[in-house]
């Protein structure tokens, strides 16, 4: 099936006007599949790290949201061991007017503001609530170990 105009346009814009700290490059043999990197936001425990993600646009995109997953190991209360992300706009709050770039920006923002009250990784969220400083330190350490640029 031909690639919808929307996906072509979004891809072109991602290339022409990249977002700071974010890159998304489609696979040559499957233009619905993107290799994504997100730089950890400044002043967050993820600062200095570069995180790899995979993004896939399902057939009925944009009726349904893109499927996104972290490939780089990350210590975050809203991201589980498999890299799945708990983010409202990727689920019930998705709107077909949102785009790849807006979603990636939301994920970058999530790294800057972890939310242990709405956890996906329960054990991490628990630690985050019990001893925030220690949790942040672990996140830093994981970033240093796994998210080397």
């Amino acid at each position: 099936m031909a690639l919808p105009k929307r996906i072509i346009k979004e891809t072109e814009r991602l290339m022409a006007e990249p977002v700071k700290g974010i890159s998304a490059v489609p696979h040559e043999d499957n233009l619905r599949y993107f290799d994504v990197t997100i730089e950890g936001p400044e002043q967050s425990p993820y600062e200095g790290g570069v995180f790899k993600l995979e993004l896939f646009l399902p057939d009925d995109y944009p009726m349904t949201p893109p499927k996104i997953r972290f490939l780089t190991k990350i210590y975050h209360p809203n991201i589980d061991r498999l890299g799945r992300i708990c983010l409202d706009v990727l689920k019930g709050n998705w709107s077909p007017a949102l785009q790849i770039r807006t979603i990636l920006l939301s994920i970058q923002a999530l790294l800057g503001a972890p939310n242990p009250d709405d956890p996906l990784a329960n054990d991490v969220a628990q630690k985050w609530k019990e001893d925030q400083n220690a949790a942040i330190e672990t996140a830093r350490q994981w970033t240093r170990e796994h998210a080397k640029p």
Binding site: M1, P4, K5, R6, K9, E10, E17, V19, K20, D60, P62, M63, S95, P96, A97, L98
Partner: protein, 459 residues
């Protein structure tokens, strides 16, 4: 090469209109002023080195004490505060002030070294009544002051009980600042004149282009596409300002020129100029390019004058040690000649010229990012193409993707925006045709499945 020389050369060689050149900052005249001022100060024993030393001490002293106890200060505005009331154009009245203890004749600072203190004391006392004018700030009647004094109530001067305020009589500094201030006002006026002139030109050109692109005139059909493409490239070139999320900044003239040239070569390489057959079209395009060149020149002119101002203030400080480079810009703002002009003119180009040729980007459906054909206007006033509306309704996506109101749910044939449909057909006939075909194809697929496309092609 000295800056004065470079400045003069640039004014001469860059093809600025004579009227502009006349309004430029008179760097060499101001430089002469500074030389005279330096002489005046030296005659009073205040050579730059002494003065610098002195002011440095005052600064240290002020940092450590309440600023009531300054032994000496250089005020740019005798009438600070008045400026705002009079629209920022209050005349400059720079003053070098020394405070002397009335009874002892001593300078009020123990932090000055003996030598400078002595020197100033001599200035104040020995020459005080002949060479130096001693101004006593009166308690009650500010009206009967000598001419070069300050109206105390409005002035930046503080009355200090027990001290005499000695004003070191200087004339070249007044000349310097009033010349510079007048020139800045002149530059601002020049900018306003230019803006008016360009506005007239833009308006005229806008009307021409409107005529040349009117889709109701058959002869224009091809031309509309050409102008649209030219403007599309123009807008994307971001010549004067960035328009992306991460870059809204104004560009300096060098960057702007570079972008403009790239724009010019892009439209040439797309053979857009060659396709213009009639004389009037070419003339309009030339006028459009000229407006932009004019603006680039204004940008450049503003930049070199700004540099001239910075340099001359720096020179003033270096030769007199009076330290005005920081305080002067607080008093008078450098008229942002170029940027202000560029913003105003770009806005004008947008409303008067570019708007005559509607851009497809303003009529794309937020969901398929194609033209909004046929346009369906939801209750919330958001417009989508009918194809996307059908897809949403089939998928039970009841809420508007843009505002999340439940307006997709109850949309029906009544929501077709007929007025907009005829507008789109008129201005974007090719895009509409393509989208129409696409919508039919997708509808066919809905009904007959994927094979529909193949069948279609065979037939």
């Amino acid at each position: 090469m000295k800056f004065g020389h470079i400045f003069k050369e640039r004014l001469k060689s860059e093809g600025f209109p004579p009227e502009w050149v006349e309004s430029a900052i008179s760097y060499s005249q101001l430089k002469k002023c500074i030389n005279r001022l330096t002489n005046e100060l030296s005659e009073l024993g205040l050579d730059p080195q002494t003065l610098r030393q002195l002011l440095k001490k005052v600064e240290d002293f002020n940092a450590a004490n309440k600023d009531d106890d300054k032994p000496l200060e250089y005020l740019l505005a005798g009438q600070a505060g008045l400026g705002e009331q009079q629209g920022g154009t209050a005349p400059f009245h720079p003053m070098l002030l020394v405070y002397v203890n009335e009874t002892t004749g001593e300078l009020d600072s123990a932090h000055l070294n003996e030598e400078t203190r002595h020197k100033l004391q001599l200035l104040a006392i020995d020459t005080g009544l002949s060479d130096l004018r001693v101004v006593e700030l009166p308690d009650e009647e500010p009206d009967c002051l000598p001419s070069r004094t300050v109206n105390n109530s409005a002035g930046g001067l503080r009355r200090r009980p027990g001290y005499r305020t000695v004003e070191v009589p200087l004339t070249s500094d007044i000349e310097f600042f009033s010349t510079l201030a007048a020139e800045l006002v002149g530059l601002e006026e020049l900018q306003e004149r230019e803006q008016r002139r360009m506005r007239g030109e833009i308006e005229r050109l806008g009307k021409q282009i409107a005529r040349q692109t009117d889709p109701d005139r058959r002869a224009n059909k091809k031309l509309l596409a050409i102008w649209r493409q030219i403007f599309q490239i123009y807008v994307e070139s971001d010549i004067f300002f960035g328009t992306t999320e991460s870059d809204h900044s104004a560009r300096d003239s060098e960057a702007a020129v570079e972008r403009f040239e790239k724009f010019a070569s892009t439209i040439a390489s797309h053979h857009l100029v060659d396709q213009m057959k009639r004389e009037e079209n070419l003339r309009a395009l030339t006028a459009f390019m000229d407006i932009n060149r004019n603006l680039l020149q204004g940008l450049r002119f503003g930049e070199i004058n700004r540099i001239a101002m910075t340099k001359i203030l720096k020179k003033f400080d270096k030769q007199t040690a009076l330290g005005v480079k920081k305080t002067f810009p607080q008093r008078i703002e450098y008229p942002d000649f170029s940027q202000h002009l560029a913003r105003a003119v770009c806005a004008e180009v947008n409303t008067q010229i570019l708007s005559h040729v509607p851009r497809i980007d303003d009529y794309t459906c937020a969901m398929c990012m194609d033209i909004q054909w046929r346009p369906v206007r939801l209750r919330c006033q958001h417009v989508f193409c009918i194809r996307c509306l059908i897809v949403m309704q089939t998928n039970k996506q009841h809420f508007c993707p843009l505002c999340r109101e439940k307006t997709v749910f109850d949309a029906n044939a009544e929501n077709l925006d007929l007025e907009m449909a005829s507008f789109l057909k008129k201005w974007f006939p090719d895009e509409v045709k393509l989208k129409q075909r696409h919508n039919q194809l997708m509808a066919g697929k809905d009904e007959y499945g994927e094979v529909y496309q193949q069948k279609c092609c065979v037939m």
